[in-house]
Amino acid sequence: MKKKLLKIINGVLENNNRKKIEDINDNISLRNDVGFDSLDLAEFTVCIEKEFGIDIFENSLVDTIKEVVKKIKG
């Protein structure tokens, strides 16, 4: 799953003409480490929903990879 997440994150970065990241781990924060702002997160959540069928931000915001994985796994 993390490979898929990395691909999605890099897709968002690439679409916005920003440098891709090489690796992710549980503690990486989407806002502070990846540098996503609200617009990027909005795009990220659409891509996640397309891939996994879940709106990870529906009830509350998540920030770390660990939280994203937890949401996807339900």
Partner: protein, 412 residues
């Protein structure tokens, strides 16, 4: 005097009221009547100098592209104009506030997304910008978290509310959540006014800040759930929901999503066919063609009447096709017009879809002349032509864009 006027972590800049007076009392003062800068403190000081000069200032979003500036007839020459001003030295902050309040000829022009695709020019005077500003001795110790674009009406209103009460302004706009929390605590912020999208980024609640006394929601449809969760972070805060337009500034405030009409507005606001109408006396100056020879401005906001006297209502939805992305209004026509200029694009339709982070997000369907471009190509083409929030975040390439019977592109 050592009180902070403005602090911005983004520019690592702290200006005390004392520094502000020194800057405003410099010799050979001037300001830029076409204000176009990323630095918030420069925007605020430019506004103050224009007020002291009792003259006009045009506020331009710092992320307007060259092309967007061109569309509103702003060129390099205009941006480089510096206007010399003369006024007697300021003696104190009270003196500054007194003079600002007497700037009877001062005008500021702002731009709001227009329904035709071109930004709409709206001019306000001191009275129309500050009509809902509340000044009192009890407010002197307030510290404001600044969470709006300073060239937009909501940002200006917070600026005046804070300045006229001699309050400190701490910028929270465009900061990470970690830094927002850090600053709320460090500077003991008491008041925050922001969009639901701003508060959404503070969730889930992790910490509590009892120092915050008032939270104001504006710019987007009120979100009860966000309001409830925000209350956990700021347990002592009173929550206020405001309705404002660039054309009017704030006109309603409520504790929830029901608004009650204040007595002073009773002849200036009415509901016709469920649409909220505002009398021209409450509007800033703008293209009167919009009013179509009537005294009433149609807001496109559809409301549900709860009580007739005094009028109590709540907002249902917007009739217009403008898309509200985290408090920024986007005209799909403007975005379509720019995308259509790509040599490989045959046709395009731009629309909004609801989004759990931004309220709404911009999507587009593109029909290509040949299949040789990617989503990234389209995005790169748009980067220097449109403000960031206007660029579609989801691009679908389709074989055929359906057209309605009239030949108009069908907006989904």
């Amino acid at each position: 005097m050592s009180k902070i006027f403005f602090y911005n972590l983004l520019d690592n800049e702290k200006i005390l009221y004392e520094d502000l007076l020194n800057r405003l009392n410099k010799k050979n003062m001037f300001y830029y009547p076409y204000c176009y800068t990323k630095k918030y403190s420069d925007i605020f000081i430019n506004i103050l100098v224009s007020l002291l000069a009792d003259d006009e200032i045009v506020l331009l979003d710092s992320d307007f592209s060259k092309e967007e500036l061109g569309n509103i007839s702003i060129n390099k020459e205009k941006l480089s104009i510096r206007k010399k001003v003369e006024y007697s030295p300021l003696k104190s902050v009270q003196d500054l506030i007194f003079r600002i309040k007497n700037a009877s000829k001062w005008r500021t022009t702002l731009f709001s997304s227009g329904t035709t695709g071109l930004p709409k020019k709206i001019t306000h005077n001191y009275f129309s910008i500050t009509k809902e500003v509340k000044i009192s001795k009890e407010k002197i110790n307030n510290t404001w978290g600044f969470a709006y674009n300073p060239t937009h009406i909501a940002g200006l209103q917070v600026f005046f509310q804070a300045l006229l009460n001699y309050n400190s302004i701490i910028n929270l706009f465009q900061l990470s959540r970690k830094n927002i929390f850090k600053l709320i605590k460090k500077y003991q912020i008491t008041n925050i006014s922001a969009t639901p999208t701003f508060y959404r980024q503070l969730l889930p609640p992790e910490d509590i800040f009892p120092n915050v006394e008032r939270i104001t929601f504006g710019g987007e449809k009120y979100d009860k759930k966000i309001s409830k969760e925000t209350k956990i972070i700021f347990p002592k805060a009173k929550i206020l929901n405001v309705y404002a337009l660039t054309e009017t500034g704030t006109i309603f405030a409520s504790k929830g999503d029901n608004f009650t009409l204040k007595d002073k507005y009773k002849d200036l606001i009415k509901v016709v066919n469920n649409e909220l109408l505002i009398h021209k006396d409450l509007l800033g100056e703008f293209d009167l063609l919009e009013l179509k020879n009537s005294s009433w401005y149609h807001t496109s906001d559809i409301v549900e009447i709860i009580k007739k006297n005094p009028l109590e209502f709540k907002f249902k939805y917007r009739k217009s096709e403008m898309i509200n992305v985290g408090g920024y209004k986007v005209s799909p026509y403007e975005v379509e017009e720019v995308i259509r200029r790509h040599p490989k694009v045959q046709n395009v339709v731009v629309y909004g879809k609801s989004n759990s982070v931004m309220g709404n997000l911009i999507y587009c369907d593109i029909e290509l002349k040949d299949k040789k471009i990617t989503e990234k190509d389209v995005r790169l083409f748009l980067i220097n032509k449109l403000q960031r929030f206007k660029i579609p975040r989801v691009i679908n390439f389709v074989d055929n864009i359906s057209t309605a019977r009239t030949g108009k592109v069908k907006r989904l």
